[in-house]
C-alpha cells in the first residue's frame, strides 16, 4: 500500500517562507557580531612595594615586568561598554594565575548605583563561584570509617574572582582590582 504525505500547495508556501527568512537572518547575525568590540577589557598588573620613610610605611606601585616569590602583584581590570546601549548581566572575571595566591581581602567591592557588588570567588577553575568563605566537601578515612567533612577553602586556593553587574550603561567604565602574592 502506498503512502502519501498530504501536503497542500498553500502549506508548502507557508512552510518555506519562514525558512528563507531564517536563512537570511542567519547570514546577518554573524556579520553584526564581527563588528567592533562591545565590551573593552584592559588588564594591567603592578608590583606593590612598601616604602618606609621616617618610620612611616607607605605603598608604591612599580611596573610588574619581573617579580620574585613573595612579592605582591595588583591586578587592575578596566571594563568599558563601548556601545551606546546598555548591556545586561555583565560578568567580569579576573583569573588568579596559579603561580600566585590570592591575598585575602584584597578585592574591593564595586560601588554600583546605591549598592556594592561583592566579588565572588571560585576554587574549581571558574566552574562555580560563591561568596567567601567557600566550603568544599572532603571524604577521608578516619579510624577506619569513611567520613565526609566540609572544609573551608583557603583564599590561597582561589582560582578566579568575578563581579556580576546587573547592567553596564552606555559608555560606562568600571575598574576592578585584586592582589596576589607570587608563590
Amino acid at each position: 500500500m502506498n503512502e502519501i504525505l498530504v501536503w497542500g500547495s498553500k502549506s508548502r508556501e507557508r512552510t518555506w517562507r519562514p525558512a528563507i527568512i531564517g536563512l537570511a537572518l542567519g547570514l546577518l547575525i554573524p556579520a553584526l557580531a564581527q563588528g567592533a568590540e562591545v565590551v573593552k577589557l584592559t588588564l594591567n598588573s603592578v608590583l606593590v612595594v612598601q616604602e618606609s620613610k621616617n618610620g612611616q610605611v607607605s605603598e608604591a606601585f612599580q611596573p610588574a615586568l619581573a617579580v620574585k616569590p613573595g612579592e605582591i602583584l595588583e591586578w587592575r581590570l578596566e571594563a568599558e561598554n563601548a556601545t551606546d546601549r546598555p548591556l545586561r548581566q555583565v560578568a567580569l572575571v579576573i583569573p588568579i594565575p596559579k603561580e600566585t595566591a590570592y591575598l585575602e581581602g584584597s578585592a574591593p567591592a564595586l560601588p554600583w548605583g546605591g549598592v556594592r557588588i561583592l566579588p565572588q570567588f571560585s576554587y574549581d577553575g571558574g566552574k562555580t563561584y560563591g561568596l567567601p568563605p567557600l566550603k568544599r566537601r572532603v571524604r577521608s578515612v578516619e579510624n577506619g570509617q569513611e567520613v565526609e567533612r566540609e572544609v573551608e577553602v583557603r583564599p590561597a586556593e582561589y582560582t578566579h574572582a568575578r563581579w556580576l553587574l546587573p547592567e553596564l550603561g552606555p559608555k560606562a567604565k568600571v575598574l576592578l582590582k585584586l592582589r596576589t602574592t607570587v608563590r
Binding site: 502549506s11 577589557l41 612598601q50 553596564l168
Partner: protein, 920 residues
Amino acid sequence: MKKPVGIIGVLLSLWFSLALAAPTPAGTSIQNQASATYVDSAGQPRSTTSNLVVTVVQQVYSFTITPNGANEASPGQTRSGLPGSQVLFNYQVTNTGNGTDTINLATVQGTADNFDLTGVQIFLDANCNGNLDAGETTPITGVTLNMGNSACLIVRATLPTSATNGQYGNLNLTGTSVGNPNVKDNDNWARATATTAAALTAFKSASPSGNVTPGSTITYTVSGANTGGGAAYGVSVTGLSGTGILVADTIPSGLSVSSMPTGSAGAGTVSFVYSTDGSSWSPLGSSNLPLTGNGTVAIGLFISGSGAFFPQGASYTFSFGATVPTGAASGTLYTNSATVRFNDGTAPQTVTTNSTTNTVGAGYNVAVGPYGFPTAGASGTYTALGYTVTRSGDAQSIASVYDGTTVIFRHTLRNTGNAADSFTLGFSGAPTGWSCGLVADDLTTPISGPVGPVAAGADYNFALKCQVPAGATGNSFTLTVTATSVGDPGKTDPTTDTVTALADGFRLDLYGGVNGYGPYTQSQTQNGTNYTSDDLSTSRPPIYQNGTVYPSANPGAQVVYRLRVKNLNPSGQADNYTLLVQPGSGYAAAVDSLLFYPDANDDGLPDGPPISSTGLLGANGEFKYLAVVTLKNTAPPGPAGFSFAAQSSQSGAEPKDFAPTQINVNTLAQVSLIPDRSGTVTSPGTIQYTHTLTNSSNTGATCTVSGNGGSYGWTYQYSLDGTTWAPSLIGISLTPNGGNQTIYVRVLVPAGEPIGRTDVNTLTASCDVGSTSASATASETTTVVGGDLRLSKSAVSYVGTSATVRSSDGSQAYPGDTLVYTVLAENIGTADLKAVKVADPLPGYTGFVSVSATATGFPAGATVLYSTDGTTWSTAAPTSLPAGGTVYVGVNTNGDGTIDGNDVMPPGAKITLTFKVQVQ
C-alpha cells in the same frame, strides 16, 4: 596609618607560609587574561577577553644550614674525643630559593674556647649516614643545589694532642650564596671537647635516603663505637633494671614500627626497649607492636652491663624499620635523629646523632566507582532522569530503559594518591548508535580533557550520559568508565554501568469520527495497547459515519473527519506526529485533495492553514485535527477507501497507527443538450442546425435523441455526422465527465408555407446513467421568410480577453469572457436586393467591445457603412454602444453616404458582421 602596617604583617606571615611550600621557579611566566560575559542590547549572550599580561618570575637566592648554633656559647652540636683524634660534625644544607644556586662553604675557628681544631675539612655525605665513608673523602668548598634540594655535609676536625680533658674548641660552618653573596648562613657553631674518658660516637642512617613512597619502609640504623680514652659505663634508665647504654630513637610522627628491631653490641647484653612518654622505658615484645610515632613514642636498644663494661673500640649497631603511612601527603618530611646515653666515668653523657630526612614523593593513584562510592563497595539506589540506578560493588545498573530516552550514571572519582592530580576520564563499550558522553556533576556540561586538579584524598563527581536511540532493542548493555591518573598514567581504575534491558518507549493512538457524528472515538484503544501503534495486527476498527455506514458524498463535495492523535509514550517523552493518509482502492480516482487542519477548540472548523504534523505533543497529550477530503468533480460512483495514519517523528522504528475508512461516492446523472437554435428558411427550403449533447455525469451514459416534429408536419431529420440522417438517434454512448456528441438536425420545409410561419421542434435526449437516468431538451425555431436574404448568426466565447476558446458555440461564458457574434447576410435569390440593413442588438448583461463588417459580391466602389440608429451612417464603425442599443451595417453602392433604395445587393453578395461584446 594602620593599614600599611597591616599589609606588611600579612605579607610577612604569607612569606613565612609560602616559604614552606616550593616557591615558583625562576623564569616562570605568570600569564593572565581577564574575561567578561554579558547580554547585549539585542538579547544575545556574548563574551570577550582582555589583553594578555605576562610577568616573569626572577630568581631569589635562599638556603639554610642546620643544625644551628647561634654563637660559641650555644653550639648546635657537640662531639667528644681523645686528644689527637678526629671528630665529625654533621650538617645539612638546603636550597630554599627558586633556582639552582651554589653555596660556598667555609669554617671559622672560635675565639671563646681553649684551642683551635686542626685539619678542618668539609666533605659531602652522599648517603647522609653521618659517617665518612669510602668515596666521600674528597674535601669540598661549596655545593651546588637545585631548587628545593638538600645535601648532607660532614666537617671533620682533629683535636689537638695538647688538649687536656674537658677542654674544647668551637668551629662555625658558614655558607654564602654565589648567586647573591648577601645571602649567608653563619650561625652553625659546633663544639669538640677533648676527653680522656669514654666517648661514644653515634651515626644515623636511613635507607632509602631521600624520597620515599607511601607504604614503603624506611630502615633506620644507629651505629657507633667507643672512641674515647676509657671504657664506658652504663646509666640508670627509668623503668629498666640495672645500668646500661641506651640508644634511643623517637619514632618520627606518623611512621609505625611493626616488626622487632635488630641490634648488637661489642660488650654487654642487648635488649630492645620502648617508651611511650620518652622518659620511662619498658622491654619491647612483639605484642607491643606496632608502635606509631607521635612525637614522644620511642624505640631503643639497651646494652646492659655493670661498671665500666663497654671497652674502648667496642661498637654497637641498632636497626629498625618504620613504615610510611599509605596516605602520607606528598612532600611530608620525616626527620629523625637518635641519642646515646652512657656514663663516661665521670658523668652521664648524651650524644646526638646526625639527622636523616626523608621526603614523601608524589604517589599517584585513582579510584572511580558508583556515585558516592569511589572505592567500590557500593549499595543503595538513586534516581537520575526518572530512572532508578542501582549500585552494587563497583557497578551500577538500570533495570529497564525506554528506547529514545537518555540515561545517566553518576560517578565519584577519588584521588587515592598523596598529591593533587588530574585525571583522564574515558568510557568504552557504548553500543552502536548510542550517543554517550561524560558530563560534569551538573549533568550537563561536557567534560573535555583531564579533570582536576583534585586534591589528594578529595572526590570529584561526574556522570556518563547516554542517549539511547529510538528503535534500539536488546538486553544487557555494559559500558566501562575508566579514570586514569595524569601524574602516573599507569594508575587507572574502571567501573561499569549496565542497562539490563531496553523497552519500547513509543506508543500512539489515532482515532476519530465523521464531523457531526460524534463521539469521535472510533478506532480508539480500549485497553491502552490494542488499536495503537503497538498493536501489530493489520486491522483496526473502521471509522464510520453512523453505525456501520460510511459517509456518502457527491463528486466535488467535501467530507470532514474529526481526528485525534494521542501520545501514549510509556517513556513520557514528547513527540511530534506526522499526519498521513494511506490510499486504498478507489482513492486516487475519487479524491482531489486531503488536507489536515488543526482544530484545538474541537468545533469542527479549521483553526488555521493546513498542517502536516501535530507539532510537539507532550506525554498523554491529545491533538485534535480535521481531515478535509475533497472529492474530484469526476469522482466515479462507488467506494473510495483509505486509512488515516500517524507516525512518530522521534522514532522511525515505531509502527504507524492507522484508522481505515471509506467514502461512498454518489452517482451523479447529468446530461445537457445545447444550444437552442433559430433560423430562417424559404419555402420550400432546408436549414441545418447543430446541438451538442454532453454527459456531465460521473459515469458513462447511453442516450436516445428524438424530436417531437414541430406543429406543421415539416420533416426533421437527425444525424451524428451530418451525412447519415435518421428520424431519431439511438444508442449514443457518452463517456463520463464531459463526453459529448454533436447532434445534427436538418429541417425540410415543404413548398407553400406562408411567410412568417414559425415552427418549433423540441429535441429530447434521454440517457441511461448507471442505474439511473437523465434527460435534456433543446429546440430549433425555424421561420419562413419570403425574400431572398438569409440571415444566420453564430457565436463563439473566449476565456476573458484571451484567444482561448471557451465555447465554440458560445453556449458557455463567464463574467469577463468575450463573446464574438458573427451575422452572415446572404442574397440567396436571383435578383438584386435593395436597402439591405443588417441590425444586431447589444445583448443584455454585456458591454460593447467592437463591431466590424465585410462585404463580398458587391459592385466595385461599394463601401460598408455603420449606424447606431439606422438613419445616420458613417464609414467608421461605432466605438461605443449604450445598453439596449443596436448596431446597423449596410453597403453603399451609389456613393451617397447613406443606405437607401438606391443601394443594391446583387445575388450571391454577402455581408458579414462581426460583433464583439464582453460579459458583465
